[in-house]
Every structure is written in structure tokens, then in C-alpha cells.
Subunit: 139 residues, 4 copies
């Protein structure tokens, strides 16, 4: 397996096609094992108490998986999330960035499936896990 | 079954405890069948093309179910989402609010389970569906 | 919307293509609202204590949704389940059949999505709910 | 972390408390990384074509996670599955056993969460993945 997009290419893609949210994320790694993506925690992601909100964790899982798929098939926009099952397991540490580790488990003709683990930065126990399916447009 | 919180009480709760996002939502109905919640679509919810983003739909489902549970047990904060499985089925109509219909299917001692259908305002075919589980703190 | 297969046609399909499990199920209704399917509880479906097992409930949800899709598109075999998210909410009543109510929420070109509620026969509170996605083969 | 039950103890537990299905499964490994469980494919697990059925894969994921939790907390029966989200990604190889790799991601006071990958014996690409939640009875 060869990567179609590396860390630099994914970062450029985020900036160009997802300008609205690009400042929230930093691509930390993209290799054959998957993609690591950081959510740079800001006021707008937090719940009272200073922990990252559920929707912000969902967004992190969703973008991490999207980039992991693109790293394998290239910048074919228009892949869309069809399903996400997410488990919230622990309260994230207050005031800390989150890190997502996404891996692609299946890359089919019409569907891609993968999963994501989310961690508070510097912690070992995951705060959330998600399984996601993307629909890939006909090429 | 009697409701512990009606539409006015839920609206007041949203404003007081979720000030950060309260302006995004309007409680349209709260009765024994469940809760209807509107997402007032604004620039920050939209993807390129003008359709509401996945994270914004997730947030709508999550808040709608939270309010449906509170309508039954009263304003015991601290109920937390433990799981959400969401299917994105259709592209929302551009520039339109979304409406969520949430119902509680089980209200147990420690877990509450329900589901949500999401519609583009004025449309009959749902754009998304979700099943959610909440953990309820010991009283 | 017109149905491609009614209750009799679905029953015949089950017998012919799913002979191995056809005796477990009875199609009770098939109309534009969806399909109602009964699991005829037998020893092999039960856990110690006499309640229907999780895998038997999963099978009921899966077959009910499959038949609901076929009722709309006709007997195109080869549709396959790609995803199922199931919540087990209550212990089924001992020694009782289960009834599933399946409805199709989306019938697309390549994916069909729906949900299922499962009840102990004669009870009003659901014992389980599931959301399922099927991949539909190109025609 | 120390294991409360090893491979031999889990095997004995299966035989005693799940006599009905014990012959379907073989515990291959139980350590701090999780549990590996084999489904010994038999006629009753197969779909036409000779591949293992969805309900049999669900049962494998469910039992594998159950044993992984017991390996950590000991033989406290009564833990029950509350949720399972399963993705079916590839057709299993015909006439082949399946192997599940289950890991516990969270072991809380009332809930345990983990995930499972399922492989056709001898293959590297997973045929299914699942996330599961168990409710743990008060001790």
C-alpha cells in the first residue's frame, strides 16, 4: 500500500477545502497505519467545566477518519459519512487538546470503514472510540 | 406518565445551563410522546454548499435526547451521553433549519435509551436518525 | 409507493431462500409502513432463565429489515447487512415470542437504512431497538 | 492490572454457564491485551454459500467481549450487553473458522466498553468490527 497523501498534503487539503474548521485541527502523522489528528481545544469546543464537548469529539473522529481515507485514495472530495457509532467512555481532561488515532479497516468500491480512538493529550486511557462508514463516490 | 418539565421549563434550562449553545436551538414541543427541537441554522453550522454539517446534526440529536430525558426526570444535570449511533441518510436542504423528533424508549435506574429522527424543515423524508444512551447519575 | 412483495410473497421467499431459519419466523404484516415479523421462540433461542438471547434478537432485527427492504425492491437477493447498531433495553419476558416492527427510512441506489423495534409478544415497552444499513447490489 | 481469570478459567466458565453454546467456541488467548476467541464453524452457523452468518458473527463478538470483561473482573455472572454496533466489512472465507480479538477499553463501576475485530482464520483483513457496552451489576 502506498499513501496518496502525506501529512503535508492532508494539511493543505484541510486549509483549502475546510477553511472554516481547519484552525481547529493539526495533522500529526499520516502513514500506512493511519492518521493522527489533534483537536486544538478552544473556548468554542468546551462544555461548562472546561472539558471538550461531545459534538467536538464527534467532529474530531469524523475529520480524522476522512483524512485517513483521503490519505489512501487521494483528494477525491465528496466522500460522505453515512454512519458513526461513538462511545464516550471518560471525561476528557480539562483544558487539554485531544488526539485521535484513525485507521482504515476496509476500503471498498463504494464504502470505506474504519475506527478511531480519542485521547486527552498525554493520557493513555482513551476518552472515546468510534466506528465510521463513508460512502465513496463513483470514480 | 407525567412530565417533570414542559416546553417553557426546558427552554429556561437550556438558557441557564447551556448558554453557549442555547441560541442554536428552539424547543418546539414537549409532551408524553417526546421532544421536538429545532436547530436554527446559522453560518457556523454549515458545510460548503450551505448544508448543515454532521457535527451540527450530532449536536442536535444529542441535545434533543437530553431534553427528552429531562422532561421525564426533571433538571438533574450531569446525565451524560455514553453512546450514539447515527445514520446520515440524505443531504439536508440548503439554507433550511433542521427539526429533531426525540423519544425516550427506556428510562432505567442508571441508563436511558432513546432515538431521534432529524428532518429538513418542511420535508417528510428524514435526513438522519440516531439512537442514544445516557448514563443517569445516582440520585 | 407500491409494494413489490406482500406478506405471502415474503413468506414464500423466506422458505425458499432461507430454509435453514424460515421455521423461526412468521411474517405478520407487510405494508407501506413496514414489516412485522414474529420470532417463534424455541429452546435454541433461549438463554438460561428462558429469555431470548442477544444473537436471536439480532437475527430477528436483521431478517425483519431485510424483508422490509425486499417488500419495496422485490426479491433481489444479495442485499447484505453492512452495519447494525442495537440497544438491548429490557429483559424479554420468559417463554414468550418476540415481535419486530421494521421500517425503511431510506432506500437509495446503493444503501438502504431503516430501524427496528422489538417487543415481547403482548407487551408495550420495547425490549430492543436497532438501526441497520444494507448494501444493495447494482441492478 | 492482574487477570482474574485466565484461558483455562474462562474455558471452564463457558462450559459451566453457557453449556448450550460452549461447543461453538474455543478460548485461544487471555492476557492483559484482551481475549482471542475462535468460532468453530459448523453447519448451523452458515449461510447459503458456506460463509458464517451475521448472527453467528454477532454472537462471536458478544461472547468474546463478555469473556474479556470477566477476565478482568472475575466470574460475576449477570453482566449484560446493553449496546452493540457492528460493521460487516467483508464476506468471510467459506468453510473457515472465525477468530475474534476483543479488548476492554473501559472498565467502570456500572459500564464496561470494548471493541472486537473478527477475522477469517488465517486472513489479515478483518471481516467485521464491533463496539460493545456491557452493564455490570452492583457488587
Amino acid at each position: 500500500m502506498t499513501l496518496q497523501m502525506d501529512r503535508a498534503a492532508l494539511t493543505a487539503f484541510l486549509l483549502r477545502d475546510f477553511g472554516q474548521v481547519a484552525a481547529d485541527f493539526a495533522v500529526e502523522r499520516a502513514d500506512t497505519a493511519g492518521v493522527a489528528l489533534r483537536l486544538i481545544a478552544a473556548e468554542r469546543h468546551l462544555r461548562p467545566g472546561g472539558t471538550v464537548s461531545g459534538p467536538a469529539m464527534f467532529a474530531l473522529a469524523d475529520v480524522a477518519m476522512y483524512l485517513a481515507i483521503l490519505s489512501r485514495i487521494g483528494p477525491v472530495a465528496l466522500a460522505v459519512t453515512t454512519n458513526c457509532a461513538i462511545d464516550f467512555m471518560r471525561k476528557p481532561a480539562a483544558g487539554r487538546d485531544l488526539r485521535a488515532e484513525a485507521r482504515v479497516l476496509k476500503l471498498g468500491r463504494v464504502l470505506a470503514v474504519g475506527d478511531v480512538l480519542i485521547f486527552s493529550d498525554g493520557e493513555e486511557a482513551p476518552v472515546a472510540r468510534a466506528g465510521l462508514t463513508y460512502s465513496i463516490p463513483p470514480r
